[in-house]
């Protein structure tokens, strides 16, 4: 029997501890991990909970992140509920195995505490690692604050383990800004959290000797394409409804409402910021202030589900907006930012095509202030009023040196 942990209705936890408690409450069977800053405390705390009898499971210490995810793949194929955590360089070393996990349709949960990619070496938060994972066939959920890393951390199991979905799920949170910042967290009780998930029901478990199964088969030109097509088909057609269903169920037990696309003050918005991570929250504050101070009709769209990409939902939310700023926290290294590309592909399907501007910000943990976000809204308002984009397409903000901008000048 595992020990129950008595939690207060309000805890002061950082995002890492919040995520660790979601693993404990899900009673994860196997964590195979190679700790890396800033995600370390997630697996460290799971190991502590395990050692103190709060989880019945197994902690596998391995020699690299490649081995960590390989261990997760084996444990998940065997039939266990499996999770791990990583960041940055560790995530990069995992990439090869990420494709294995999704291709074998294994519902592993991976907490990615977003951190910059070297060189130069940097332990702070940006979205380079999250962007690196976007073609890997995983479901990617993004939290904008610590509470959400906990909530999504629980919901990830229910989404990925569903037999109609059977896909691994990443839960992202911003390194340090979320992972190491303590705020009020409203946890569920252990009983409520576990009964929300229920026991893991493995699908074609390798430890079921009555029903032998093969994982990781080779398929050449004859079948490879069909397998990939089926995976894409399931991502495009099965995940959205499942995510919505799980969000709705979770709202019933937590009172917290989640949506695939988190629009804020968009009903009458003329200008919008599209962002991910903690910047979504800060941009909401900036939108409120700029509406009061300058009367600019500002709104914010936060991408809760990055993969599969909620094309139709975003299209609907952006149908009346006049100017959009896409905020990318990752160096695009030679083109526009990922969000700019994705959102542009959406809005050309609308009758009214807005002016589009791309802002590169916050690399390696560089601050984005509420004032800077207000300035972006003001700049977007100029384009909205002109009825076309004014100024260059891409601009770097809060970087040293003269203004750095590219394209469309």
């Amino acid at each position: 029997m595992t020990e129950k942990m008595e939690l207060k209705s309000v805890e002061v936890w950082d995002g890492n501890l919040a995520a660790a408690h979601s693993l404990r409450q899900a009673q994860v069977d196997v964590v195979s991990a190679y700790p890396i800053t800033p995600s370390t405390p997630i697996v460290e705390n799971y190991a502590k909970f395990l050692a103190n009898g709060y989880v019945e499971g197994e902690y596998m210490m391995v020699e690299s992140e490649h081995a960590a995810m390989s261990g997760c793949i084996g444990a998940s194929a065997a039939g266990g509920r499996v999770a791990t955590a990583t960041s940055s360089q560790g995530f990069a070393l995992m990439v090869e195995t990420l494709y294995q996990a999704s291709g074998m349709r294994l519902p592993i949960v991976l907490h990615v505490v977003n951190r910059a990619m070297a060189a130069p070496l940097n332990v702070n938060g940006d979205h380079s690692d999250m962007y690196l994972g976007r073609d890997s066939g995983w479901i990617q959920l993004d939290s904008f604050r610590q509470q959400e890393a906990y909530d999504l951390g629980l919901m990830a199991f229910k989404i990925g383990e569903d037999h109609g979905v059977r896909l691994p799920v990443m839960v992202h949170q911003d390194g340090f800004i979320s992972s190491h910042t303590a705020q009020n967290i409203f946890p569920l009780s252990d009983e409520v959290a576990y009964s929300f998930l229920g026991d893991h029901q493995p699908f074609n478990a390798m430890l079921d000797f009555e029903k032998p199964a093969t994982y990781g088969a080779q398929t050449e030109e004859n079948w490879h394409f069909e397998h990939k097509a089926q995976q894409h088909h399931d991502l495009m057609t099965k995940v959205f409804s499942k995510v919505e269903e799980v969000f709705a169920e979770y709202e019933k037990i937590s009172g917290r409402k989640y949506r695939i696309v988190e629009d804020f003050m968009m009903e009458d918005a003329e200008v919008a910021i599209i962002a991910m991570g903690t910047t979504v929250n800060s941009a909401r504050l900036a939108a409120k202030i700029i509406r009061e101070k300058e009367g600019i009709k500002a709104g914010v769209v936060g991408i809760r589900l990055l993969r599969p990409f909620p094309f139709e939902q975003i299209k609907e939310v952006l149908k009346d907006v006049k100017a959009i700023g896409t905020l990318d926290r990752s160096s695009p290294n030679g083109t526009v930012g990922m969000l700019h590309n994705e959102i542009s592909g959406v809005v050309i399907e609308n009758e009214k095509v807005p002016a589009m501007k791309n802002y590169i910000y916050g690399l390696g943990g560089r601050d984005i202030t509420i004032q800077m976000l207000q300035d972006i809204f003001k700049e977007l308002d100029v384009s909205a009023k002109a009825g076309k984009r004014v100024g260059p397409i891409q601009k770097f903000i809060n970087v040293r040196g003269p203004e750095l901008s590219f394209l469309g000048k």
């Binding site: 002061v12 332990v123 903690t278 929250n281 509420i370």
Partner: protein, 185 residues
């Protein structure tokens, strides 16, 4: 929104102090935030920690801050850190020093005309706790200067925050909080 910036050296307990303060404040129904800039700083390196407190949910994730209180828990940082950075007209400074307030201001003239309070958290923590961990005494001084909570209420809540420690350490910290509360001026 109440905002606090701590100036500390890594290892002196500013992060623990900021989180402990957040823990106490959260029990009163307020919203809190506690964070630090440390990167890969080593023990002894200058660092800053931060608190935000509000009656409403805190959705601000910027690192930038115009602090209401600046808490300096290492005496040398008054001279080597930019402790007046992004200050407001009414920012209050609580500074760890063995000097009197007048002598402190003479030694660091940029504090002239500012709302400065002094307390020797180093001596207090060495006397009461037996180690130079000046974080808890600073919380006692903050309670006095801010009037945030009644000292008895604060100590009662700190008991819960410190409950995982041995009784001897809890008692020593309580004495340090009380002494700093009485001595800050």
């Amino acid at each position: 929104m109440l905002e606090i910036r701590w100036h500390s050296r890594a290892g002196q307990g500013a992060v623990t102090g900021a989180k402990g303060l957040a823990d106490v404040i959260a029990t009163t129904g307020k919203y809190v935030q506690a964070f630090a800039f440390y990167g890969s700083a080593k023990r002894g390196a200058a660092m800053t920690a931060y608190n935000r407190v509000d009656d409403e949910d805190i959705i601000n994730h910027e690192k930038f801050m115009n602090p209401d209180f600046v808490l300096v828990i290492d005496p040398a940082l008054t001279y080597t850190d930019d402790i007046t950075l992004n200050e407001k007209d009414d920012t209050k400074y609580i500074i760890t020093t063995h000097l009197s307030k007048d002598d402190l201001i003479k030694s660091q003239p940029k504090l002239e005309g500012k709302d400065v309070y002094v307390v020797d958290c180093m001596r207090i923590s060495q006397e009461k706790i037996g180690k130079a961990i000046p974080n808890t005494p600073m919380l006692g001084a903050l309670m006095k200067i801010s009037g945030m909570y009644d000292i008895d209420f604060f100590k009662e809540k700190m008991l819960e925050v410190l409950s995982k420690f041995p009784q001897k350490i809890i008692d020593a910290n309580m004495a340090a909080i009380e002494t700093a509360y009485n001595e800050v001026e």
